[in-house]
């Protein structure tokens, strides 16, 4: 099970965390998954589970600075 994660802030500024599937990672790079599944035009960061809190009691208060999201932006298409 991969600990790779993709982070982006949605239009409301809420932190969203993408969990890639094993089947997708077997056929595509994490960057390709990010380009597909991050909404179009939103900047993202590729990281690991170490980059996120594990305590979900305050999940909706999780934050990550947009300055950290420099690994790419979501593509227009949501398909590989």
């Amino acid at each position: 099970m991969s600990n790779q994660r993709i982070f982006y802030n949605n239009a409301e500024g809420e932190l969203c965390v993408i969990v890639p599937s094993a089947e997708a990672l077997a056929n595509h790079t994490i960057q390709e998954i990010a380009n597909k599944d991050v909404p179009s035009g939103l900047a993202y960061k590729i990281g690991t589970t170490d980059d996120q809190p594990s305590d979900r009691d305050f999940r909706n208060a999780w934050e990550m600075s947009s300055d950290e999201m420099t690994d790419g932006t979501g593509a227009v298409s949501n398909e590989f």
Partner: protein, 144 residues
């Protein structure tokens, strides 16, 4: 060695197509040791994931990822898009510390969710309030 035979249908003119996967890994279609008839309504995608703690996918098919949007708020992202949004979805959720019967709200559009050809929003709820809950087991199946 067994033989491979593909037989056309004399009463129809439609083409039969076997499409290659979009990835770079070879795939093999292995049939069971019995005659089978493939019917309509096969699951087009499914996923079983842990929606608590460090969210993680236990198993899936035709799911590229899930998106953790917040408490009890997840997107299921399809590897290969559905042909349209007329697909059918079923699912279930198990809360970690109670025996409450959790329902799975599907495609909560008014709540900012998706019900598109490429992704679907699911929200575990108790069914009695609009609150969303993280659940230890979330199962989603998509049929078309």
């Amino acid at each position: 060695m067994s033989t491979v035979k593909i037989q056309g249908n004399a009463s129809g003119s439609g083409a039969f197509t076997i499409a290659a996967p979009s990835g770079n890994t070879d795939r093999t279609l292995t049939l069971p040791d019995a005659s089978v008839t493939v019917g309509v309504g096969q699951a087009q995608a499914w996923v079983n994931f842990n929606g608590t703690g460090t969210v993680a996918i236990r198993g899936s098919a035709n799911v590229s990822s899930i998106t953790d949007n917040g408490t009890g708020d997840y997107n299921v992202n399809f590897s290969t898009a559905m042909s349209d949004t007329n697909y059918s979805v079923s699912g279930s959720a198990k809360f970690e510390t109670s025996n409450n019967n959790f329902a799975l709200s599907i495609g909560n559009i008014s709540g900012g969710g998706n019900y598109t050809t490429t992704s679907l929003t699911v929200n575990p709820t108790t069914g009695t309030t609009s609150s969303r809950w993280d659940c230890v087991i979330v199962n989603v199946q998509v049929f078309r």
